[in-house]
Amino acid sequence: MIINKKRVQKLMAEGKRLDGRGLTDYRGPIEIEVGGVKTAEGFAKVRIGETVVMAGVKLGLEKPYPDTPEDGGIMVNCELTPLSSPEYESGPPGMKAVEIARVIDRGIRESHAIDTKKLCIEKGEKAWFVMVDIISINDAGNMFDAAGLAVLAALNDTRLRDFDPVTGVVDYKSKTDNKLPMTKQAIPITVYKLGDKLFVDPSSEEEHCYDAKLIVGSDDKGIISALQKGGDTPISVEDVEAMVDIALEKSAMLRKVFKKALKLK
């Protein structure tokens, strides 16, 4: 890939981008498909422009952690597959995959987006553990925002399975109408800074050309549920304010697509 930071920067200074978009425009089409994978308890496939990512949910009945005997758990894993880009290699997850998994994991866990108390079946003995796997199919940039949306959609698509109350063995062939106890629907948006310009939804080329970035997760009431700064350049409080404004606007836009796809009110 030819990366030319100067060229991206020069264009951006004029408020332009390589593909002709405005600085805060997302690529189209933005599509969310749910269901479709029968072996998963919940599944979603998200497309933003050419970027395609899947998220699948598997549930397991396990013993709660000793320090939280009344809670189920959540675990997010991300695989940036070598299938999806020549930049990725087989083997243990790289730093980018770890960051995606960790930030989304924290965003759900620490904002209590899932009521883990309701996942508990028997105190100290049995609780549902939600295992989410993010899989990149085509990485044409902005994998993070697409992955965040996919995870949220997959969690909402998830239906619990039946299980044997005595042995605790899950019947993976069964299907119930019980959903996960979701308390909020946070959508993460990454806002990038290059020079004095802010932009969103980078292409693969632009993803290599930024000074700083800020991931902002926010729910439908505009409450921020996760923040993570990246990049080697510091940002000012004013920058943060401007970045959060953009993130809130963009998450409202993605939320419309999300609600339509999941037929939520």
Binding site: M1, I2, N4, R7, L18, D19, G20, G36, V37, K38, T39, A40, E41, F43, E50, V52, M54, G56, V57, K58, G60, N77, E79, T81, P82, L83, S84, S85, P86, S90, M131, D133, I135, I137, N138, D139, A140, V170, Y172, K173, S203, S204, E205
Partner: protein, 251 residues
């Protein structure tokens, strides 16, 4: 009790419904999507590119390397832990053997063509789907080939030879054999042959003869997928050019 009526109501030689597409992953040099029943996979091809580690390099020709993987949520039971397992290693190896006879990489010594296969969901016949998908992806990547390989699982369930077994059929309570077969369509040469279970010689030959017709059906769809991509590209080339962004400098 012989197995006279299939669980899903198919005829004995009938394959499950298929969706076959070429060029679904834009980043890859070649790619394919192959769905047969509830077995579904993506394949992408990268290369020829320099091969590391270097001791694997062949100075006479390039090699192909398959990476078969079932995604964590693709199994019928609990979550599958990611990572290399002996099963996926072995399947990757037999895939390479199935594809090698048709691929010509003599023009690219010391290189590798990597083929990645990922399964979002599975219901038996995964290695066959993987081979069929990989063939399309290789052709889509413009790799020099004699012909595409088409693959399907044959088998004998309780005395009846059937094509394209489901998981329920593999798990049938009785004598079952599962025979993944890959064939070069034009010559009907077999490039993959495995068998699990037990079978008589007569039933084996019957299965292999039935495999000719079954793989031919897949071959038709493989060709159609490629034609759809490239014939479609021809007519809409102008539109596509207008839409593609002027990236990576103008030169």
């Amino acid at each position: 009790m012989a197995y006279t009526k299939r669980f899903d109501g198919r005829k004995n030689d009938e394959l499950r419904p298929m969706i076959v597409k070429a060029g679904v992953i834009k980043k890859a040099d070649g790619s394919a999507y192959f769905k047969i029943g509830n077995t579904e996979c993506f394949a992408s091809v990268y290369g020829p590119r320099e091969l590391h580690p270097r001791f694997l390099q062949n100075p006479k020709k390039g090699i192909i390397r398959c990476h078969y993987n079932m995604l964590p949520f693709s199994g019928t039971g609990s979550r599958i832990r990611p990572g290399n397992k002996r099963r996926s290693q072995e399947i990757s190896m037999v895939m390479e053997k199935a594809l090698n006879p048709v691929v010509d990489l003599t023009a690219y010594p010391n290189t590798v063509v990597d083929i990645y296969i990922e399964f979002p969901q599975t219901d038996a016949g995964t290695r066959c789907a993987a081979i069929s998908a990989a063939s399309i992806a290789l052709a889509d990547a413009g790799i020099r080939m004699k012909e595409m390989v088409s693959s399907v699982a044959m088998g004998e369930v309780d005395g009846t030879v059937v094509a394209d077994l489901t998981y329920a059929e593999e798990a049938f309570d009785g004598i079952v054999s599962d025979i993944p077969v890959a064939m070069v369509n034009s010559t009907q040469e077999i490039t993959l042959l495995q068998m699990d279970g037990e079978i008589t010689k007569k039933a084996l030959i019957e299965s292999l003869n039935a495999a000719k017709a079954a793989t031919a059906k897949i071959h038709v769809l493989q060709e159609a997928a490629l034609k759809a991509k490239y014939a479609g590209a021809k007519t809409s080339a102008k539109v596509a050019n207008a839409q593609t962004k002027p990236v990576e400098g103008s030169q």
